[in-house]
């Protein structure tokens, strides 16, 4: 196995570990609010976007 593949495997394990931790604590940078959530954006956009 290539050394780069071993490094990639370690990288994947790290990604999975971070994913497990964020799943357990419910963290996401894509949340609408809460701790360190980016939020959905401003208020008041209403009305259809149709045409």
């Amino acid at each position: 196995m290539k050394f780069s593949s071993i490094l990639y495997g370690v990288f994947c394990v790290l990604i999975l570990a971070v994913f497990v931790q964020t799943s357990r604590t419910g963290f996401s940078p894509f949340a609408d609010g809460g701790a360190r959530g980016m939020g959905r954006g401003g208020y008041g956009f209403y009305g259809p976007t149709h045409k």
Partner: protein, 441 residues
């Protein structure tokens, strides 16, 4: 092939008088003087001149007489010629070992190939040829004309500048088999691609570095192994991530409340008390449901307040539904069940404060920013029911997508490099119709 008698024999060129070393005496048929370039007949005791020099002598990268050990065999460079197909040129070194016979070292300017004449005809298997009962070789190019452009040293045939043959190439990863034909004979030779620096180490010349030049048709992609390994690892990691996501997607209902809000009426505040988040931080999902909206919207301002610290997690939701018709027919849009996600809310006891305000959408009125369209409050508004649910847990789709993207970056990069290499490799082949599936085996 064996050599019963072999010795280095000193001769003098009959044209220029220069001293020559006949290294494969007994095998060599013709010899090109390394001093003046004339071709001599070594089977003639008088060293008859076969052909006059036609080009200025050039010095081969590997000098004649150089000895080296290549793949366990000791070879001496006895001849050198340069050939061209009219577009590309390459160099061929004739190697000699008295116990092994002749071998070839072919330099395409980028990599070296090492091989021999075949002593048996290849088997034909459809469009492929098969040698040594091994894997087949696909037709790559030819027949195309090849001409000798320069020659020096000694050879087992009467080679001269201008000699022409028709060449047909068959390839598989790492191997080329060439058929060379002229009016009198047909020969088959097999060349194996050497590793980077292998020939240079054997014959003591400056090693070349792997570069991005045009690879030969037989050169396997250096990214192929990485590609296989990275996609296997990536697939395992991606599946694992999806399994973890599925296992973590469960939710727990913490609270639910039914409320009503008046259309164009005064905003209403609803408070859900005593929401318990035990154990560890977790995601909170606040979902509203108002299925009776019809060209209306409801603004939902959420504040999840920690009763102990008064820390507030704020978010916003919008329930809406619009419909109408135009020249294309009827249309409808909007989400009457918006979900708002809070990230990583610490454990504790919370109150959820929801401020609701419902509005009618009137076509042709301002529909851009902030505030109701009329600014007026209806004292007797039509009431719209809204259900608000608070759930703990669940999976953020954005986290899953981000994880998959991070996992697939490296395999994607390797695939891109592999395809770029294959494109360059195929660009060096004449036969674009070949099936290249074998190259990814």
């Amino acid at each position: 092939m064996t050599a019963a008698t072999s010795s280095v024999k000193a001769l003098n060129c009959t044209s220029c008088g220069g001293t020559l070393s006949l290294r494969a005496a007994g095998y060599t048929v013709s010899m090109v003087c390394e001093h003046c370039g004339v071709t001599l007949d070594t089977t003639d005791p008088q060293l008859r001149v076969i052909a006059q020099a036609t080009a200025a002598l050039r010095r081969p990268l590997i000098p004649l007489g150089t000895r080296g050990v290549l793949r366990g065999e000791t070879w001496e460079v006895v001849g050198y010629l340069e050939r061209s197909d009219g577009e590309d040129g390459w160099s061929e070194y004739l190697l000699f070992n008295p116990y092994r016979g002749y071998g070839w070292l072919v330099d395409d300017g980028r990599r070296f190939n090492y091989g021999f004449l075949l002593d048996s005809l290849p088997d034909m298997d459809g469009a492929q040829i098969v040698i040594d009962q091994g894997r087949g070789l696909d037709h790559d190019s030819g027949p195309y004309p090849v001409e000798v452009k320069f020659v020096v040293g000694e050879f087992y045939w009467r080679v001269a500048v201008g000699e022409r043959v028709q060449v047909t190439d068959y390839v598989r990863p790492g191997t080329t088999v060439s058929c060379e034909e002229n009016d009198s004979e047909r020969t088959w030779s097999k060349l194996d691609l050497l590793e980077w620096g292998e020939a240079e180490r054997a014959f003591g010349v400056e090693p070349r570095r792997p570069n991005s030049g045009t690879p030969s048709p037989a050169e396997p992609s250096p990214w192929r192994d990485r590609l296989m390994e990275s996609w296997i690892i990536g697939a395992i990691a991606a599946v694992t991530l999806l399994i973890i996501a599925a296992m973590s997607s469960g939710t727990q209902r913490l609270a639910s409340v039914d409320a009503q809000v008046g259309l164009e009426g005064a905003p209403r505040t609803v408070v859900i008390h005593g929401i318990q988040i035990a154990g560890h931080s977790s995601a909170i999902r606040i979902s509203a449901q108002s299925d009776q909206l019809d060209n209306d919207w409801i603004d939902l301002d959420y504040s999840l307040v920690d009763k102990r610290t008064q820390e507030s997690f704020d978010a916003y939701g919008l329930a809406e539904h619009y419909s109408g018709s135009d020249s294309d027919g009827s249309w409808s849009e909007g989400d009457t069940r918006p979900k708002t996600r809070l990230s990583s809310v610490p454990p504790g006891t919370y109150d959820l404060v929801v401020e609701l305000s419902a509005h009618r959408w009137v076509q042709n009125a301002s529909t851009s920013f902030f505030g109701a369209q009329t600014g007026m409050v209806d004292p007797n508004p039509t009431l719209v029911p809204v259900t608000i649910n608070v759930d703990r847990g669940g999976m953020f789709a954005g986290n899953v997508i981000l994880g998959l993207i991070l996992i697939l970056i490296w395999p994607g990069f390797v695939l891109w490099r592999h395809l770029a290499f294959e494109q360059r490799r195929r660009g060096s082949s004449d036969d674009d119709d070949d099936d290249d599936d074998d190259w990814d085996d």
